[in-house]
């Protein structure tokens, strides 16, 4: 009782006692962020494998590994958020088709299989060769990875290629469902006027593509720089164009959503208005929209339309990509946290201040965001990122 009164001091207007606490906090901000990066990174690899955008070849393999590393951590925030993480397994033990929340478990698992298989087939030649070169535990590991097959005949590789295009093709709708689902789970909360819109899955999906492509570009620049390798500017130019394209649609939809809310001015508009121009003003309008959308939008447009020099692109591409990564993170924050700041009383709002060392605090969030990078590093030891890493091609 005393605690409630104490927290209520951080509230504005009248807030129901059960609205005082923001239950879905940082972990639930990270969850759509990480899943989004997965879906987006997969799109990059599909652009090469399915749509045959040749310029993206240098990124085709890396983006799959990148997607996988983040996928491996996508459920972590959810587990950290749950009071009883062990019970998550119940959705496989006693599957309930009408549970919207459990849906993620099934989609995620199916997608993880497709992604793992695609990586396995794409790297098969490499794995088989490594198996022959290595001894001891490494040999055992490569034996498992190559399914103890040594067949690299033309016929076998042809079969592989067929399977790869099939996996990549079904992977696209699955990646879309994976992240569209995350938008759906928010869009389906009809009690929350900020979330409850059928546009939610679309916006989530588009921002996912955007964050995935931006993430790949940033990682590409970083890793190549660290390894002292050259950067394929043609590839960067193409990915920047795609980034811009997706971002145009993404940003337009984000704005259209707000404008249609405002134009329709339904019963909930005044609450939304108070939220967006109140506690969310800085994080939404100033940061997400003005600084982190408009500036990268112009930058990307400029480098996509005008013929800029490589040295300028070398600066603009990573800068704009980092800004877009932050934009998407803020978008998740504004949606997830923002939606919970308004009270169901429609007469008040609370504020939310994450702490460093709490169960779902900032420190843990940072650990979870660093983890995929460590996984990626370890994976890089077995599956080389770049096609110029001296190995044969599929």
């Amino acid at each position: 009782m005393h605690e409630i009164l104490a927290t209520a001091s951080g509230a504005l207007g009248y807030v129901f006692p059960n609205d005082l606490h923001v239950h879905w906090s940082l972990m639930i901000v990270l969850y759509p962020y990480i899943t989004g990066i997965v879906a987006g990174a997969f799109i990059v690899s599909s652009l090469y494998h399915v749509f045959h955008i040749k310029a993206l070849k240098p990124l085709a393999k890396f983006s799959l590994l990148f997607a996988f590393a983040f996928l491996a951590c996508a459920t972590l925030p959810l587990m950290m958020h749950l009071g009883q993480p062990g019970r998550a397994m119940s959705m496989f033990l006693t599957p309930n088709p009408s549970s919207a929340m459990a849906g993620f478990g099934y989609i995620y698992t199916a997608y993880a299989f497709v992604l793992a298989l695609e990586i396995f087939f794409i790297y098969r030649v490499h794995l088989v060769k490594r198996r022959q070169e290595t001894t001891g535990w490494q040999h055992a590991m490569y034996t498992v990875f190559s399914m103890a097959s040594d067949n690299l005949s033309e016929r076998s590789l042809k079969l592989d290629r067929k399977i790869i295009s099939f996996l990549a093709a079904i992977g696209i709708p699955m990646a879309c469902v994976l992240h569209g689902y995350v938008g759906f789970i928010f869009g389906g909360v009809k009690a929350n006027p900020l979330w409850a819109t059928p546009l939610m899955p679309v916006i989530f999906l588009l921002s996912a593509c955007v964050s995935g492509i931006a993430g790949i570009i940033v990682a590409y620049f970083l890793l190549r720089k660290i390894a002292g390798k050259s950067i394929d500017m043609d590839c960067v130019r193409t990915s920047i164009k795609f980034l811009w394209g997706f971002f145009i649609v993404d940003f337009t939809f984000e704005m259209l959503e707000i404008f249609s809310h405002g134009y329709m001015a339904t019963a909930h508009w005044h609450t939304l208005h108070e939220l967006l121009w109140g506690p969310l003003f800085n994080s939404y309008w100033v940061w997400q929209v003005m600084i982190l959308s408009v500036i990268p939008f112009l930058l990307l447009g400029y480098v996509s339309i005008r013929k800029v020099s490589d040295s300028l692109l070398r600066i603009i591409a990573p800068v704009a990509s980092v800004m877009i990564l932050l934009q998407v993170l803020l978008m998740r924050w504004n949606v997830v946290i923002g939606g919970q700041l308004m009270s169901k009383s429609q007469r008040g709002s609370v504020d939310f201040q994450p702490h460093w060392f709490e169960k779902e605090g900032i420190f843990l969030s940072m650990v979870i965001m660093v983890l995929p990078i460590i996984i990626l590093y370890v994976m890089g030891k077995v599956f080389p990122f770049w096609h110029d890493d001296n190995q044969s091609e599929v």
Binding site: Y14, F92, S149, N151, L152, R155, S156, S345, R347
Partner: protein, 189 residues
Amino acid sequence: MQQNFKSSYNVHVVRILLTFVGMIIVGSLLRSLLLPSEFGDYGHYRPGAVTEEANREMRNKTNDSCLDCHYFVKKIHLKGVHEVVSCEVCHGAYSDHVKDGKVIGEMPVYRGEEIKSLCLRCHNKIIRARPPESIKMIAMPEHLEEKNVRTDHVCNQCHHVHAPYKWIKEAREMMGLPEKWEGGSSWKK
């Protein structure tokens, strides 16, 4: 260059498919081992869970259960308008206070300024938390200005917390003010 390979050209695909089949078999085995036998008898749940939940120790009880021991409060509370209000809303859960008929913990009691925010949780006109027909609401500090008193008065200086009109009614009788109350010997309106 024609090479001779030990394995056939599609053996890895076959092995992957077999792995999947194996996973499905192991999965179903695990499921049959882990799934409680009576699961699904009546629906998508384990019937035993219902009894388990029902047998959980209750945290909250009725006002009567408090009044068994608090005879003094009983004499006042039941005669006042707050008769309908739960003790535990203002104090705390029974199970934190009493177990097996013995007192095991202290109940929190609001004092001074805290009482003001406690009362205003239900009686605040500004936030209009509830329809006025069910609970009368007042605005602060108007309520005290009307009474011509200093605005730093706390509610329980005039209202008995357990029977809000007790003292007010007694004071009116003492002063010979017109009888505005109908409740007879009770301190209700």
